[in-house]
């Protein structure tokens, strides 16, 4: 018997974007569900129980952030928000509200599918399946249990803070982690707005673990939002 398809609910009001999403998601083996406004989206999310929700923040009837907030009141299903460039504050607000990741309009199909895969994988891992013991990407190898970091097979010594940052990023590999989340987890609540701490320590991490720190392959910066550890 064919395994049941994972379903994606797209809450989006623009017909051409819906068509693009429907075509590419169906072609990649997902079941496509659609809602063209916030109210309908909330109803569909409750009745159809999708595996993932793609939520446009610019909806005709209600604020997308409000939809995210109401979804999070009862659902733990992954949410990816979609918004325009320059609306970083909205993205951060959505992520802080419990959205799992975001896409900036316009986006391509590779980006869309990569986000969906990463978010679904993280979700399944936290839902019971064990985390992979060792993270690998390119020449980077991180063994969290053994606190061991290898670059091109050679062990690299990290400071406590650097290892802390790396741990959070590995736990969320492929997903964006907000500046606030990293700052509060590593330095504490009082540092939530001290983004320059991150900039300095991320530079140090890149200098130690990237082959070309100025053209990073692993530690990607998400303008005005946070950081993302690249996955294959």
């Amino acid at each position: 018997m064919e395994p049941e398809k994972l379903s994606v609910l797209c809450i989006e009001d623009e017909a051409p974007i819906c068509l693009f999403l429907k075509t590419s998601l169906s072609a990649s083996g997902y079941a496509y569900l659609q809602a063209s406004n916030g109210e309908e989206g909330l109803v569909q999310a409750a009745t159809r129980n999708p595996d993932l929700i793609l939520l446009d923040l610019g909806l005709p009837d209600m604020d997308g952030l409000e939809v995210a907030r109401r979804l999070r009141e009862w659902s733990k299903k992954p949410i990816i928000v979609v918004s325009a460039r320059g609306r970083e504050a909205d993205k951060v607000a959505a992520l802080d509200m419990g959205a799992d990741d975001y896409l900036t309009k316009p986006f391509g199909v590779q980006e869309l599918l990569a986000r969906i895969r990463a978010v679904l994988r993280r979700h399944q891992e936290t839902a019971g399946k064990t985390e992979e013991p060792v993270f690998r990407h390119g020449d980077l190898e991180v063994d969290l249990a053994d606190r061991k970091v290898l670059k091109a097979g050679k062990e690299v010594h990290l400071t406590k803070r650097e290892f802390g940052l790396l741990t959070i990023l590995v736990r969320h590999a492929g997903k964006v982690v907000t500046q606030r989340q990293l700052l509060t987890e590593i330095w504490g609540e009082a540092y939530a707005n001290q983004a320059h701490y991150l900039r300095v320590h991320m530079n140090n991490l890149r200098n130690k673990l990237e082959s070309l720190p100025g053209r990073p392959e692993h530690f990607l910066t998400e303008s005005g939002v946070g950081y993302r550890l690249a996955v294959d």
Binding site: H196, R199, P213, G214, G224
Partner: protein, 375 residues
């Protein structure tokens, strides 16, 4: 585009002046009424020193103070409030300052003259001041309008180019069943490239909007130049892949206080400018170093360089200097200049002695970077 009507500039300032004094009511009162209340407030306040100094100073000297108040009101809040203020000051002068006090009667005929002359003067002045203010407003409005139409026509042209390519490619994909797989994939690639180009144009336009307001809205934070460079290069990964590219980052660059999104856009525009105007396969070089209290970025290529004498013009809006235009929007470089200037920095272009063009941007570090402990 700058959508804020220029007519509001002065009244905004007036509103700001008011806020600390009338915090409770400014929110609920219509803008127009506020101006009148302010004007009356100014005249009432001027009456206080006048009242206490009425025995020391001439009535005509005190009238001068009222006149000054009316000029200010005319300048900030326009004709209506100034005219009402003129009449109010005449009444105030009559009631509080001239003998007998606390009466509209006047005993000294000279005071009548002072009063009358002051009223006429302040009426004339308020009319003149308001008129010059309106003239200025009209001039700004006309200039904004001119800029706006130039921008609109350039934008329409620049949007139409990629749109034509997209429509052409898409229509042949739809209509022509005989296309081979290779041709199809070429057309698809073209649609993809051209839509990316449109996206960049729109981003530049949005940045332009942000920079063209009276006070550019910068979101300054202590940023890492290495990181901003990394983001720009990441976004151009595919296009840069076919180029010999050298990145020269001075070790230990200080943090710099800038608007991250804008500086990333500046880097993107300069890199794309180099990619667009030089032949495939020729090298591009980006170097970043700190010079005194500035950070200097240089993007150098080995193309045909800049026509002599056009080193400045290329930063003007909608010019396509630079030899052989290949799909520049005519906006990219002017936005680079606007971004540099908004940060108090500079941008310049020159031809390299070894051939090719070099663009140099200097941005102030913006103070003493905050200390960050390594642990």
């Amino acid at each position: 585009m700058n959508t804020r009507p220029p007519q509001n500039n002065h009244s905004d300032k007036a509103g700001n002046l008011l806020k600390p004094f009338l915090p409770a009511i400014t929110g609920r009162i219509p803008e127009k009424l506020k101006k009148y209340i302010c004007a009356f407030g100014v005249i009432s306040i001027l009456t206080v020193p006048g009242f206490f100094l009425r025995q020391v100073l001439d009535t005509s000297t005190i009238a001068m103070f009222y006149l000054l108040g009316v000029v200010g009101i005319a300048f900030w809040w326009g004709r209506g409030p100034a005219l009402s203020a003129s009449f109010l000051s005449a009444l105030m002068l009559d009631y509080f300052i001239t003998v007998p006090y606390f009466s509209f009667a006047i005993s000294n005929p000279q005071s009548w003259i002072s009063l009358f002359v002051m009223l006429v003067e302040s009426l004339v002045i308020s009319a003149l001041a308001a008129k010059s203010r309106e003239g200025e407003t009209h001039r700004i409005a006309a200039e904004t309008e001119k800029n706006r139409s130039a921008l609109l026509s350039a934008v329409s042209h620049d949007l139409r180019t990629p749109l034509t390519a997209i429509e052409g490619a898409a229509s042949s994909l739809v209509a022509d069943q005989n296309l081979g797989p290779e041709e199809r994939s070429k057309l698809c690639q073209m649609i993809f490239d051209e839509s990316e180009r449109m996206n960049r144009l729109v981003q530049n336009l949005l940045d332009m909007t942000r920079l063209q307001t009276e006070v550019p809205q910068l979101r300054k934070e202590w940023q890492s130049m290495e990181e901003l460079v990394g983001m720009a290069l990441g976004r151009l990964k595919n296009r840069l892949a076919s180029r010999p590219f050298t990145l020269d980052l001075q070790p230990g660059l200080p943090l710099i206080r800038v608007d991250g999104l804008l500086v990333e856009q500046l880097l993107l525009n300069l890199l794309e400018n180099a990619l667009n105007h030089t032949s495939a396969g020729t090298p591009i070089q980006l170097s970043v170093k700190s010079v005194g209290d500035m950070v200097e970025l240089e993007i150098a290529d080995r193309g045909h360089g800049i026509k002599s004498g056009e080193e400045k013009i290329i930063f003007e809006k909608f010019t396509r200097g630079y030899h052989g235009d290949k799909g520049g929007s005519g906006l990219g470089l002017s936005i680079c200049r606007a971004i540099a200037q908004a940060h108090g920095g500079t941008i310049g272009a020159r031809n390299r002695p070894e051939g090719g063009a070099s663009f140099v941007v200097r941005l102030p570090i913006g103070g003493l970077p905050p200390a960050v402990s390594e642990e």
